[in-house]
């Protein structure tokens, strides 16, 4: 590994000296092993990401599996028009957006806060243990988390409701109340993914040199000053990039989780684009229509990611592209 990095360092030095004298072909030949290493990744993207992308054309067809892609009728934007005129559209958009905002406000900062807290912990053993414990939930499947939630929150013998009843004398129907649906979803996400999210921030924090902290201490900065003026600025670019990436998935709500927590009593607030695509596409077999819905989501995602990147650059931050 060290040999490898030394080699690339050396190569870099070469480039500085002689870039202008090399043709593209020569450069490729010189770095041929690096390009070789690129092939598996490129193949993956071509095979599994770019080739299937032609399937989105289905959204403009009245696709029937038996007539096949080539002989299905083309219908233009019919499916999109139907979708936007459907009374469900507003409800889906509202539910999706509200959940997305909640996610951004409550979940997104959570890993940053935990990373900052962990960074202040002095005892290495304690820090490591906490770090491991908080990212264990990431490896549990949503099915398990939904069952755990059910066991804890059910009104017939759930632990949480036992406590609530003890203090207030009444039970709260978390699982079937539309008011509790969103808090419950966000709480699940925070519990499951916060620990995992801290990994990247902790990595970024590891690169802050101790000298900066020492200098700050010399200047008389306390703990919070140090956090504010040294730690957070060190994290800033990481936060911005993760935020931009998150906005790209703004409308993705994690189908499994929502699907598992939905029931007759909270469906009104629980239906989001992802579950709608499943119900319409897979259980009702309307492939073209659900592809159109999925495509609409993807377009919104692209707009958001480019928009966020543009604004990040305007604000003087490094963007993605």
């Amino acid at each position: 590994m060290t040999q490898l990095s030394m080699k690339s360092k050396k190569a870099k030095n070469d480039v500085v000296v002689s870039t202008s004298q090399l043709t593209n072909m020569q450069r490729i030949l010189r770095d041929k092993w690096l390009y070789f290493l690129l092939i598996p990744g490129a193949l993956y993207f071509i095979l599994f990401k770019y080739l299937p992308m032609w399937g989105v054309l289905m959204a403009f067809q009245d696709y029937s599996p038996f007539r096949g892609f080539w002989s299905s009728d083309w219908v233009g934007f019919d499916h999109f028009i139907n979708f936007f005129q459907n009374p469900d559209f507003i409800r889906l958009l509202r539910n999706t957006l509200i959940l997305a905002f909640y996610d951004l406000i409550f979940f997104f900062p959570a890993p940053i806060i935990v990373a900052l807290l962990l960074n202040e912990v002095r005892m290495q053993f304690f820090k490591r243990t906490i770090q491991t414990l908080v990212y264990v939930p990431h490896f549990m499947s949503w099915v398990i988390i939904a069952s755990i939630t059910y066991v804890f929150l059910t009104t017939s013998g759930g632990a949480v409701n036992a406590v609530v009843e003890f203090f207030t004398g009444e039970k709260i129907n978390f699982l079937s109340s539309p008011d509790w649906f969103r808090p419950m979803i966000i709480a699940q996400v925070i519990w499951k993914e916060t620990g995992w999210g801290t990994v990247i921030f902790l990595a970024a924090l590891a690169s802050v040199s101790a000298e900066q902290y020492e200098a700050a201490i010399m200047d008389g900065a306390g703990r919070f000053r140090r956090m504010w003026h040294v730690t957070l600025p060190a994290l800033r670019s990481t936060i911005v990039i993760l935020l931009i990436l998150r906005l790209g998935n703004f409308l993705d709500q994690g189908f499994q989780q929502i699907y598992l927590m939905t029931n007759s009593l909270n469906r009104d607030v629980a239906d989001v684009f992802d579950t709608y695509v499943y119900f319409v596409g897979i259980t009702q077999g309307m492939f073209s229509y659900s592809t159109a819905v999925g495509l609409f989501k993807a377009v919104v995602g692209i707009i958001l990611i480019y928009g966020a990147d543009y604004f990040a650059k305007k604000m003087g931050q490094t963007g993605l592209f």
């Binding site: 040999q3 490898l4 080699k7 092993w33 070789f36 290493l37 092939i39 598996p40 193949l43 993956y44 095979l47 029937s64 599996p65 038996f66 007539r67 096949g68 009374p87 469900d88 059910y150 059910t154 009104t155 017939s156 129907n173 699982l175 079937s176 539309p178 029931n263 007759s264 009593l265 469906r267 009104d268 119900f279 319409v280 897979i282 259980t283 009702q284 077999g285 309307m286 492939f287």
Partner: protein, 512 residues
């Protein structure tokens, strides 16, 4: 330097080969199964030396955790009996619809595929994916005896596209704890009012005599079936009612519907039904009855003996504590909800079965499976392995792995025209169940729109149904009031319901 290069090369080739392996995985396995099929066919060919065994692939549901593989002795015996090479794909019942649609989309259909009369199936029929069997069925001894009412129910545009799996029409019924009734000095309820009184007593009067307030009248899960059955008692039509002027209207516009909902709401408010029913996993539904937490369960008739068997397993003294009846009388008479008389059907794919000659072989297979030998093989398994016959008494094996080996092959059976498999002598309760099934047939309420195929319903039926179902549940738990129900009905109308009613009425008038 050399070292490093060769190391890189090694790494790279490792990466590449792992990708290639991953890519070729599918083709590998499929070709190997093909080979397996060929082997089997050559074996059977040399075995009987007559006509070549015909390859039939089947996709169907499974209910046991370990469905039999194609090498199961039962599957092989069925193949031998019908002179076919079977390739059966068992899909867990709980996500069958999903797999069905994905299989449709993949375009790679098996010869026989189990399907409900769902919108995607109907669309596929319109695209010409399945054989029209209408004119072929009469040529087969058993298949020609299918029931006309059920055939009408499964028909699409007046044609038959599948072989239905027969189920008793009057299968809905109430399972009740007889010993609880006895303890409280109550009679089996015969009217809705008495039914309410029994539920009330079961909830509040300590029917199990343990001195604790730990019992419920009835138990309901997320599955809406019990509400549908109970509302039928009130005289609510089965999905569609016929108005005085001969037009059809959706069941929730019936005046009795609100009355039924008020009754359910009262049940819920007074705690006669479990508070968490709207989120309860249907798989755990019957546990509460079996464990003695609830005294009544409104479901299918045969649940009575199934539940009693489980109760006896845990405590033999509970024998004879369960009773069953069909329905209780409402203000307008005695009604019960029927099934549609079938549980899904086997459709034959035009893609896998290309010629009429092949179609004949597939139909012959289904016909053979309805014979006594076919039903016994698929339902009971192989004599000496899965069951014993002594002096005409049938004793099935109790070895769980042997049960799994053949249990799910009964999914292949249509039971047309009748049950012909081996049965244990009926217990008392099972005889009672048979009686209830029969008396039910006289009081079931038919759905006048059952045979019709609605364009709108096939597009957005699920959303339409959910609007009404959700409103019903919300009303029962008190999330919405009468005005909320009205709003939901209006939403239903504006979401395509109005057009749906018109469409169904057009179809209905055309047949009158």
């Amino acid at each position: 330097m050399k070292m490093k290069k060769s190391l890189l090369l090694l790494l790279f080739s490792l990466l590449l080969s792992s990708i290639l392996v991953a890519c070729s995985d599918d083709s590998d396995t499929s070709s190997s199964t093909d080979e397996g099929g060929d082997d089997a066919s050559s074996e059977t060919n040399s075995g009987d030396g007559s006509e070549d065994a015909y390859d039939i692939s089947i996709m169907t549901t499974s209910h046991s955790p370990e469905p039999p593989g194609n090498d199961s002795p039962v599957v092989e015996a069925i193949g031998e009996f019908t002179n076919t090479n079977l390739d059966i794909t068992f899909v867990p019942n709980s996500n069958y619809d999903e797999r069905f649609n994905i299989t449709l989309a993949s375009g790679d259909l098996p010869s026989l595929i189990l399907t409900g009369k769902t919108s995607s199936f109907i669309n596929a029929v319109h695209d010409g994916a399945f054989w029209d069997l209408t004119d072929y069925l009469d040529d087969y001894e058993n298949l020609s005896q299918m029931n006309d009412i059920v055939l009408n129910n499964i028909s699409i545009d007046g044609k038959i596209y599948g072989i239905y799996r027969s189920r008793p029409l009057g299968r809905m019924g109430v399972t009740i704890r007889q010993d609880w009734l006895d303890n409280l000095g109550l009679e089996t309820p015969t009217t809705i009012d008495e039914f309410y009184d029994v539920m009330y007593a079961f909830t509040h009067d300590d029917p199990d005599g343990n001195g604790q307030d730990d019992t419920l009248g009835t138990i309901v899960s997320e599955y809406e079936g019990p509400w549908d059955i109970m509302q039928t008692w009130f005289g609510v039509p089965n999905k569609w009612g016929v108005a005085d002027d001969g037009t059809l209207y959706p069941h929730f516009q019936d005046p009795n519907y609100r009355e039924a909902l008020d009754f359910f709401k009262k049940m819920y408010d007074e705690g006669l039904v479990n508070e968490d029913f709207a989120v309860m996993d249907p798989a755990k539904w019957h546990d509460a009855f079996v464990n003695g937490e609830a005294g009544i369960i409104v479901d299918v008739v045969d649940a009575a003996s199934r539940n009693q068997d489980q109760m006896i397993d845990a405590d033999p003294s509970l024998e004879g504590t369960v009773d069953v009846f069909g329905a209780v009388e409402g203000p307008n008479g005695l009604y019960n909800l029927p099934t549609s008389g079938y549980s899904m059907m086997y459709a034959i794919s035009k893609q896998a079965v290309e010629t009429e000659e092949e179609l004949h072989k597939v139909l012959q297979f289904m016909d053979d499976m309805s014979s006594e030998e076919g039903q016994t093989l698929a339902f009971n398994g192989i004599e000496g392995r899965h069951y014993e016959m002594e002096d005409g008494v049938y004793t099935p094996t109790t070895d769980q792995s042997l049960i799994y080996e053949h249990e799910d092959t009964n999914q292949l059976l249509t039971f047309v025209p009748e049950d012909r498999y081996l049965e244990k002598p009926l217990q008392e309760l099972e005889e009672k169940e048979e009686e209830v099934l029969e008396t039910n047939e006289e009081i079931v309420v038919g759905n006048p729109a059952e045979p019709f195929v609605s364009e709108i319903y096939s597009r957005q039926g699920e959303q339409l149904d959910n609007i009404i179902l959700d409103a019903k549940i919300q009303y029962i738990v008190g999330q919405i009031d009468e005005a909320g129900l009205d709003e939901a009905e209006e939403l239903w109308m504006n979401s395509g319901g109005k057009e749906y009613i018109e469409e169904i009425n057009e179809l209905y008038q055309a047949t009158q």
